[in-house]
């Protein structure tokens, strides 16, 4: 199980090249799929990225794509591209289980708009990938089913909550996966797993069929090995949808047009509040090197200030938990999912189904949100958080009058060890400092590899744009990527046989 073993395989090619070869008849969708399934089978016992594989259905889908191409049809930009879906994206007939026991047995009666578009573009989903339960977590340790391990170092977390989609890509089984990002849940695992992750502008991608966590910030986006691959995946899912009333009707700009045009002349804001002393030494070094790399690529670096950054985590953990406490009220054992046996009354059914079905972190967040919305505390917490959010929005608007794009590290640290933060929820929350502002304000943000720390773990830069400036964000990301050297080459250190004293759940 080495990175070299995957090199030269079909599934190690770029998304565009896979689709091109399949469309041109130089490779078949079945060949690519078998390659993906073989690589996944090889790494999965160590990594644990998937909750379920859909091999038979994927083979049928790949065979249909090959048949369509044989009949002279043009299939789409993801023709035959195998991919992983986070366990909160609905595909009819399958369980979107949110890695939660409370959704045991639930079968989606419809398909998410984003997933419909992926299928229409020729994609071949191979399975549902692990996550923190209901997307609540930054390590994937809060899954109700299994721990997913970081392909670079198997004793460490892949990040979260889209830890499964991130690990599936980083381990080489699929070139592309899709997750959801509410406060950093695509970008942070992409950062910790050494890949690219993108959260679109709020309203750019339909949320129809995504199981809701915090509806005012949830967005679906791609995780991939390169900026171009992420842009291809994003372009497929973006666009208006009548089934999500918050989905914008604006036309989608093709992010691949001009993606190679570079960043000469762009003003890139470096955030003054990124306090190097709050970063691990390697992260601080990487941060300054990233700014130098952007400058070498021709960008003008300007310093901007968003003083309310320091409040981002507090604002986020009030607003997101308030929304979650309302959204998760629907899981009560009545209409779908798990129902506790033998409850003597309706009220007991609710309480016991929820108490048995939800894990500790989900309960903590429901409790926190319920508290912040409760009589006597609403103004002091929810109201206050909304007020500080408006301040943050104004400060970000002001920053964007001085620059075109804003950069920060994606995460203050590299991947931490499994179990290291699981007893301290607040310590876990603090890793979301740089990802929560773009979520709260609804801005597009790209996380991309920026280097390695002294332990050989990946570090990441985040590029944030103005609303609907996706194409510009991808162009800057591509320029940054092209100005450095990066290969997703997970090292698979600390395999099961080499680990001792690492808690395994």
């Amino acid at each position: 199980m080495s990175a070299a073993a995957a090199a030269g395989s079909l599934v190690s090619l770029s998304v565009e090249e896979i689709a091109r070869r399949i469309q041109a008849g130089e490779a078949s969708a079945i060949e690519v799929l078998e390659d993906s399934l073989a690589r996944t089978a090889e790494v999965e016992p160590e990594v644990g990225a998937f909750l379920e594989l859909w091999a038979d259905e994927a083979r049928e889908r790949a065979a249909q794509i090959d048949a369509r191409i044989a009949a002279g049809e043009s299939v789409g930009s993801l023709a035959g591209v195998p991919l992983a879906l986070k366990d909160n994206l609905s595909l009819v007939g399958h369980t979107p289980g949110c890695a939660s026991r409370i959704l045991e047995g639930y079968i989606a009666p419809y398909t998410a708009t984003a997933v419909e578009r992926l299928l229409a573009a020729g994609a071949v989903p191979i399975g549902r990938a692990n996550m923190d339960e209901f997307a609540m977590g930054s390590s994937c340790e809060n899954s109700g089913y299994q721990v997913t391990r970081n392909p670079w170092d198997l004793a460490r977390v892949p990040g979260g909550s889209s830890g499964g989609p991130a690990a599936a890509v980083a381990a080489g089984g699929v070139p592309l996966s899709f997750g959801s990002d509410t406060g950093g849940s695509i970008r942070q695992p992409a950062a910790l797993s050494g890949i690219v992750g993108f959260k679109p502008t709020y309203g750019r991608v339909s949320r129809h069929g995504l199981v809701a966590f915090a509806s005012s910030t949830d967005q679906i986006g791609p995780l991939a090995r390169s900026v171009r691959d992420a842009a291809v995946g994003y372009a497929v899912i973006a666009g208006p949808d009548a089934r999500d009333s918050t989905c914008s009707e604006r036309l989608v700009e093709n992010p691949l047009l001009g993606i190679e045009d570079g960043i000469r002349g762009l003003r890139i804001g470096s955030l003054k509040e990124v306090d190097a002393s709050g970063l691990a030494p390697a992260n601080a070094r990487c941060w300054y090197e990233s700014l130098e790399r952007l400058a070498r690529a021709g960008a003008e670096i300007v310093e901007v200030s968003v003083p309310s950054l320091a409040a981002a985590i507090a604002v986020y953990y009030v607003i997101a938990t308030c929304e979650a406490s309302a959204n998760l009220a629907r899981f009560d054992g009545i209409r779908y999912g798990r129902r506790a046996a033998g409850a003597a009354s309706l009220g007991e059914t609710y309480i016991r189904s929820r108490s048995e079905g939800f894990g500790a972190e989900v309960k903590r967040r429901i409790m926190l949100g319920t508290f912040a919305l409760s009589s006597g505390y609403y103004d002091a917490y929810y109201g206050r958080a909304r007020a500080v959010l408006e301040t943050m929005r104004r400060q970000l608007d002001a920053a964007f009058t001085r620059c075109d794009l804003l950069v920060t590290p994606t995460s203050p640290t590299g991947a931490f060890r499994i179990g290291e933060r699981s007893d301290d929820p607040l310590a876990m929350y603090l890793s979301d400092i740089y990802t929560t502002p773009a979520s709260l304000v609804g801005l597009p943000a790209l996380a991309l590899p920026a280097g390695l720390d002294e332990d050989g773990m990946p570090l990441s830069l985040q590029i944030t744009g103005r609303p609907f400036a996706e194409a510009q964000v991808f162009r800057a990301g591509r320029a940054f990527e092209a100005a450095g050297e990066w290969r997703v080459a997970p090292t698979f250190r600390n395999r099961a046989k080499d680990r001792e004293g690492v808690p395994v759940r």
Binding site: Y106, I107, P109, Y110, G203, S245, T246, C247, E249, S308, A310, A311, I313, A314, V315, Y317, V318, S325, D332, G333, I334, R335, Y336, G337, R338, R339, A343, A344, S345, L346, G347, T349, Y350, I351, R352, R354, S355, F358, K363, R364, I366, M367, L368, T370, F371, A372, S374, A380, Y381, G383, R384, A385, A387, V388, L389, E390, T391, P425, L426, Y429
Partner: protein, 97 residues
């Protein structure tokens, strides 16, 4: 602010959750620490503004087909004759407690 065991019980009731004494203790500590962190919000400026309109068109006020009843009920833990089956609703449970 610190949270007491009583606070935790009250929030649990509102949340339709129940904890054993050991969990109540742990949650009081953890939530108290998190709320203590969140209290820093009071040191930041900001005024509450009316909810901003998202500026999106409204959907037509028209009847459209929803999920067929059978497909909806296929996920129900218990259903009979086209209805969900639930346990008895006790009078004490008919109002939010």
């Amino acid at each position: 602010m610190a949270l007491t065991i009583e606070d935790v019980r009250k929030i649990a009731t509102l949340s339709r959750l129940r904890f054993d004494p050991e969990e109540e203790e742990r949650f009081a500590g953890q939530l108290g620490k998190i709320v203590g962190y969140i209290d820093q919000l009071h040191g930041f400026a900001g005024t509450i503004e009316p909810e901003r309109s998202p500026g999106l068109p409204e959907r037509a006020d028209a009847v459209v087909p929803g999920l067929p009843r059978e497909r909806f009920l296929a996920n129900a833990p218990e259903a009979r004759d086209g209805f969900l089956v639930v346990a008895e609703v006790k009078p004490s449970e008919t109002e939010g407690s």
